[in-house]
């Protein structure tokens, strides 16, 4: 092909870096948007032309994640340009985009590199670059939320470092490609895998250590929340999955993920702010994907479908939330009424996104969840199966009840929002529908 084998991953990392250099010349917004388009194109190219494992390790799963990251990056950068255009924010626009690019580079770095230690470094650097993004709109609560994010996630990821040390101690190497294909047996590896679940799970929404999730998502501006839910948590999930492959601890992972799903469902029922509601729904989806990864085989396929469609729907949900926030200036569900009459595009985007996030039929996440549930049943995890189905149903009911309340009740809102923002939200929420439709066609073709 045109590109040398390892040049492509390096290029993927470099493009946002180049875009950030224009920080000084004030063109960074445009440069970021352009780099978004280029990145999507490059990731599709990467699927076709994967380099051999060396410094970088790319396989089909990595390519899918890279594609997810680049797409949401592009959509978020477009949305951010419009979102902040008429508002004063605490950090300057240019700094915001610079940090945004750095955030994306660190996520892509984590996905591509072939060394567990450097993956840990990548996850830490995502924390660093995204911390300041949360306090973009400076007020007391966002400072508190950003601080909780920093401390809880850093402490958890430091805990995960123990697992990396243990892996190195037992196997003598940190290279991912050799470790995945080998079979070491040692009780320290068991410990390492369990610790990494709790450690990296802090960043990914696993039960006892998820507490920063709703705070950070509700206080950050919408494009940043979309990046968090849509791609940052899946990247952490990717790291957990890679470590899991060294020594699969199936029962532990399935049960802890089930516990997290149940807790997410319980917390979600009490929510009265729409952004926190979507944050808990992210937590639930991430843990369903974790179950899928843990089960293996068709479960992995289901998890990938779920993650892909979830990232688009959740991004769409947060974009719509941003639109609603600009419209009504309130974060509570009760204050938002009658979207259908005032801004129909936002209403449709919101409805589609929430259907996508909660796993309604023709959307892609439904198919992903069905495959995962089926593997759960097949591998005789009956109690988790029942618990997860009950939780998913209750989440479905809660989210859609709240969303329809927001959309269809009567109320008056007179302000208008920018067309572009609405259209971005709409596009982002329709993609899962497209994915679902594609799968239906595939299944129809098979049957």
């Amino acid at each position: 092909m045109i590109f040398n084998n390892t040049a492509l991953p390096i290029l993927i990392l470099l493009v946002p870096a180049v875009a950030s250099i224009t920080f000084k010349w004030g063109n960074i917004k445009l440069a970021t948007a352009i780099s978004g388009i280029i990145e999507i194109f490059l990731s599709i190219l990467l699927y076709i032309d994967k380099p051999a494992p060396g410094v970088f390790f790319i396989d089909n799963i990595s390519v899918l994640f890279i594609f997810m990251v680049t797409s949401v990056y592009f959509l978020s950068s477009l949305y951010s340009i419009k979102y902040f255009s008429h508002h004063d924010i605490y950090i300057s626009n240019d700094l915001y985009f610079l940090l945004f690019n750095l955030f994306t580079i660190s996520m892509l770095f984590t996905l591509e590199i072939n060394n567990f230690g450097l993956m840990w470094v990548g996850i830490e650097s995502t924390t660093i670059s995204s911390a300041l993004l949360i306090i973009t709109e400076r007020n007391e609560t966002s400072l508190e939320a950003a601080w909780r994010y920093i401390i809880i996630v850093s402490a958890g990821v430091t805990f995960a470092f123990i697992s990396i040390i243990l892996i190195y101690y037992v196997t003598g190497t940190l290279t991912m490609s050799t470790l995945i294909n080998s079979s070491f047996k040692s009780k320290f590896l068991v410990l390492a895998v369990a610790i990494s679940l709790m450690g990296f799970g802090t960043k990914s929404g696993v039960f006892p250590v998820h507490t920063w999730l709703p705070d950070a998502h509700s206080e950050a501006p919408s494009p940043v929340s979309a990046m968090f839910s849509g791609v940052l948590l899946p990247v952490a999930l990717y790291v957990i999955y890679r470590i899991y492959e060294i020594y699969p601890l199936k029962t532990v992972y399935v049960w802890i993920a089930t516990l997290s799903i149940v807790m997410a469902a319980i917390f979600l029922i009490y929510q009265d702010k729409y952004k926190r509601m979507f944050a808990y729904s992210t937590m639930e989806n991430m843990n369903i994907a974790l179950i899928g990864f843990a089960l293996g085989g068709p479960g992995i396929v289901g998890a990938l479908i779920l993650l892909l469609s979830h990232s688009f729907s959740k991004a769409g949900a947060f974009y719509s939330s941003g639109n609603i926030l600009r419209l009504t200036k309130s974060k509570k569900i009760d204050d938002v009424n009658g979207l259908y009459k005032n801004s129909p595009i936002t209403a449709i985007a919101l409805l589609f996104s929430s259907f996508g996030a909660s796993g309604t039929p023709p959307f892609g996440s439904f198919f992903g969840e069905i495959i995962i549930f089926f593997s759960l049943y097949q591998q005789h995890f009956l109690v988790p199966f029942i618990l997860v189905i009950i939780s998913v149903i209750s989440v479905f009911i809660s989210i859609n009840f709240n969303v329809t309340k927001m959309t269809f009740e009567d109320g008056k809102n007179n302000s208008k929002i920018d067309r572009t923002m609405e259209i971005i939200a709409l596009i982002s929420s329709i993609v899962p529908l497209a994915i679902g439709g594609y799968i239906l066609i595939l299944m129809g073709g098979l049957v």
Binding site: T127, L132, E140, A145, L191
Partner: protein
């Protein structure tokens, strides 16, 4: 144990004790200094072991610890304390209660975890007996307890740095971690402290916030 091993043992235990010192002190600037004491002890351990094993990596590690942890982190954190309030004290702190709860916490966690998990690890021979792993574990849990028990932002940052110190100590004793990873870890922590110093300028205390419950 011969002489060198006793010295290594002693310095490692001082690291754990300085964690208690950080827990029990009220002045914020003393917390920062306490953390630099810890880092100096870790650097000296790294130098000693580097000389013993003739490994250049460990010596470079020691130098990096000194530069990054002791000098730079101190510089960034001290800049955020205004000159007039150099002796600011964290309010409503009851030292004996915290020290005793800290002690109980450490006793439980270290005994449980150490006895059941780590006691069968074998370190590089002739450096130290393998039960020296208790000390990084104590320091790690003390960092966690420091974060959980305090409301002031500075102290929480110090708790996080203490956790990272414990990781470095763990790594030094257990096996030689490749240098590039250690370097990146240091830079990460440094960047985190820089970011935190920005936040610390805004918000000094953390109390439960109404909007963020639930």
């Amino acid at each position: 144990m011969n002489m060198i091993q006793s010295i290594i043992f002693l310095i490692a235990s001082m690291v754990a004790i300085s964690g208690f010192y950080i827990q029990g002190i009220e002045f914020i600037i003393a917390n920062i200094r306490g953390q630099s004491i810890q880092s100096i002890l870790i650097a000296s351990l790294s130098f000693i072991m580097g000389f013993l094993e003739r490994s250049l990596d460990l010596i470079i590690l020691g130098i990096m610890v000194v530069i990054l942890r002791v000098i730079l982190i101190n510089y960034f954190l001290e800049r955020t304390i205004p000159k007039k309030r150099k002796f600011s004290v964290e309010k409503y702190l009851s030292v004996p209660y915290l020290l005793i709860v800290d002690l109980i916490f450490i006793v439980l966690s270290v005994i449980l975890i150490y006895k059941f998990v780590f006691s069968s690890m074998i370190l590089r021979e002739s450096i130290a007996p393998s039960n020296i792993l208790v000390f990084p574990l104590i320091t790690f849990f003390q960092g966690m307890f420091l974060i959980a028990s305090r409301k002031s932002t500075h102290t929480q940052i110090i708790g996080y740095v203490e956790e990272e110190n414990a990781m470095i100590l763990f790594g030094i004793f257990l096996l030689p971690i490749p240098l590039i990873i250690e370097a990146s870890i240091f830079l990460d922590v440094l960047a985190l402290v820089v970011i935190s110093s920005i936040i610390v300028l805004e918000k000094n205390e953390h109390n439960p916030v109404e909007d963020l419950i639930g």
